[in-house]
Subunit: 135 residues, 2 copies
């Protein structure tokens, strides 16, 4: 139960998507992102008990192409140089992505989810019940 | 840019809260959780450029008291045994917490934020612009 870190994160699954590269990928799920398959690794399969089509989840990913040394960026709009904690840039010290999605299909160890802007091969590190209030 | 993991997460800050123990803490921020101070570690200070009072953020924490071997729990309500990916239990393989908060005060390397159910000493691993649509 140390609080000093570093902490070790083990992927629980992986994204299979038609989005092959970060360049050209939508920056957020609600900007025309596609659906994708989330493959759960066998050791984590027990964690999915009870998931159903139609569930709204939050997927946490490891943005493996994120630049961890980046602390400030020029975000879209006209905000000027901004700390990454004030953005959703994938470039940040701990490049964890948050993706609100809906479960569209379940097929064995795979779930079709969407919309999600994560690129093909992105590791998944956690899956949770949605955190946003109902629309 | 390996995708195999494990990945190493370094705390960017720490929560200072009147909540001293997991037992008795609210389970979600909107269930009577208090405000708390988030102390940013000096090396990550540049990541906060532009943050202002009133900003709505998502805080990601490392739930250091979470039991990482837990894959299924009995959640509240009457759902029976459920995979942790279908819950927001702090017990899960990668115990990352998600906390939507508002910035209430900024004082040097500290920000007062709330409401947040994380207990005193909880490491903070990322801070992002809010992901939920406006209410």
């Amino acid at each position: 139960m140390t609080t000093r870190g570093p902490f070790s994160v083990n992927p629980v699954g992986v994204i299979h998507s038609d989005l092959a590269a970060r360049k050209g990928a939508p920056r957020q799920g609600d900007e025309g992102a596609p659906d994708a398959w989330l493959e759960i690794h066998p050791w984590a399969k027990d964690c999915t008990l009870g998931l159903s089509v139609g569930d709204r989840l939050v997927i946490l990913t490891w943005l493996h192409e994120g630049r961890r040394e980046t602390m400030q960026v020029y975000p879209r709009g006209d905000r000027g140089l901004t700390g990454v904690f004030n953005t959703r840039s994938p470039d940040r010290p701990n490049p964890i992505g948050i993706h609100p999605v809906t479960v569209l299909e379940i097929d064995g160890d795979r779930m079709k989810i969407g919309p999600i802007e994560a690129i093909d091969g992105t590791p998944v590190v956690d899956i949770k019940q949605e955190i946003c209030p109902a629309e």
